[in-house]
Amino acid sequence: MTTPVAEAIAVACLIAVLGFAVVRPRGLPEGVGAVPAALLVVAVGALPLAAAWQEVQGLGPTVAFLAAILMLAHLCREEGMFDAAGELMARRSRGRPMRLLGLVFAVASLTTAVLSLDATVVLLTPVVFATASRLGARPKPHVYATSHLANSASLLLPVSNLTNLLAMGAAGLSFARFGSLMALPWLVAIAIEYLVHRLWFAGDLSVVATPRDTGQRTPTPVFALVVVALTLAGFVISSPLHIEPFWAALAGVLVLATKRLLMDPPGRHLPELRELLAAANVWFLLFVLALGVIVKAVVDNGLAAAIGHLVPTGSGLVSLLLLAGLAAVLANLVNNLPAVLVLLPVVAPSGPAAVLAILIGVNIGPNLTYVGSLATLLWRRILADHDHDTEIGEFTKLGLLTVPVSLIACTGALWVAVQLMGV
């Protein structure tokens, strides 16, 4: 097969897969569209089987890591960690919405960093809403902050965001190195979010709360907290020991799951295991693998050459800013997953700093569009699916206030970190 034909097939498959993922016909999982498309790309020879296999093998540890983190977050929820966090925030805020906002920022930033953005969006946000309303405060500033931080506080660690996991290999950075280079940009991103949320929601935050005591007391899940802390330590020490960090995550999952199984009453064991497997979200893992294969075909058959000279090279401040901006635009057009997969192979030769700049773009960028990409937003508007105009309007305004400033300031912070520590 000639390269242009192969490229055309691969691009068509990619568009079809992304279209399927946005439209979700009959609510089918995204992987249902992606897996056959990836097989098709290989079957017609747009990507040699060996190359496809190599890509799958390369993504293997990333996907295993992802599965382990998803299960870890699920187990933490089951252990009552998020409920306990909600009660802690309620107690410590002493009925003052401004204090609550500070606590929400701390909890949401740490949850995102350690248990990934999925945990913050899916598991923490409802708890924050319930906490704020139980306190008699207006929930809006707090839930909007949580939703924003799921993206912008996902810069710190490779586990914080799937984009980071995908990039860790390309950047050739160890877990600890990644974290130390991204610490400053992470703090800058959180600080900007905090300032904007405080000013934007000044009215909502000035309301005096009227707490309602539900009498609920969730015991602090000490065991789960210790396991998560040890898992985190495992991530850090696994790199120098040349062990894939997903083994540490898997160990954490095993310990927590075993503890739960031992404590479970009879008859709960099977449901417990079934829920754990559901949390690992096999369709999602397949989607990531399939998307990786299709993007590989697109990049190899000509995209790399086509956009190679458009993408800035080097790791000077201007190049990094351009890369972050480009990544943010691409993430907002399609979605940050395909964006990062397309950009990584092109940018990786420019070094770790360039890869981290891409991550700043794809992680912070999605805050600009309510659902993380313009394509998804437009489709949801066509369906009139559930979104309220006031919600989208307010989200977009907050995004416009935070995203451009954060992109520039965080990339600046990354540049400073690189100058100070070297890469």
């Binding site: 969006v121 309303s133 309301v207 990409s373």
Partner: protein, 159 residues
């Protein structure tokens, strides 16, 4: 006289207090609104590409705003300590409160904006709408202390 009070997070104790002072002959109604658009934004949830989220996930999130409004209303009814009608409405807050005022003589609301700087913004977005459109007399009460006369800024120099 039929008197309604708008029960909203944070400001409702002031409204309930004002309603307790109404004469015993008054008929009292407490109105709270479950407003999905003020709840958890579901966009980020469905923006997670590849995670195969189901519609039931967003439905669960919407249930949260209903539960919160219900709890708030129950809390207010208990605090009022007088016979009253409790109305839980679903929809856009400002429109539901205005509609609830249709057969009402007096609607009591609380100032709900940023009260640290008195001015147009000391009324929240929804309160502004309700005051403009409610088909009855609206009483605006202060949550907490009323401001003293010293809260009035100095007149502009040209006056």
């Amino acid at each position: 006289m039929k008197v309604a009070g708008w029960i909203a997070a944070g400001t409702w104790p002031a409204v309930v207090q004002a309603m307790r002072r109404r004469p015993a002959s008054d008929e009292l109604v407490l109105v709270a609104v479950a407003d999905e658009s003020e709840g958890v934004p579901t966009g980020p949830l469905s923006g997670l590409m590849g995670r195969a989220r189901r519609a039931s996930d967003t439905a669960a999130v919407d249930q949260l705003s209903r539960t919160a409004a219900q709890d708030l209303l129950a809390q207010a009814v208990a605090a009022l300590g007088r016979p009253c009608e409790a109305q839980l409405r679903t929809g856009f807050t400002e429109r539901e409160v205005t509609a609830a005022a249709a057969a009402i003589d007096l609607l009591i609301v609380a100032r709900d904006g940023d009260r640290t700087r008195l001015g147009p913004r000391s009324l929240g977005r929804h309160t502004r709408f309700v005051i403009d459109h409610a088909p009855c007399t609206v009483a605006v009460v202060w949550p907490g202390e009323t401001p003293g006369l010293d809260s009035i800024p100095a007149p502009p120099p040209d006056r």
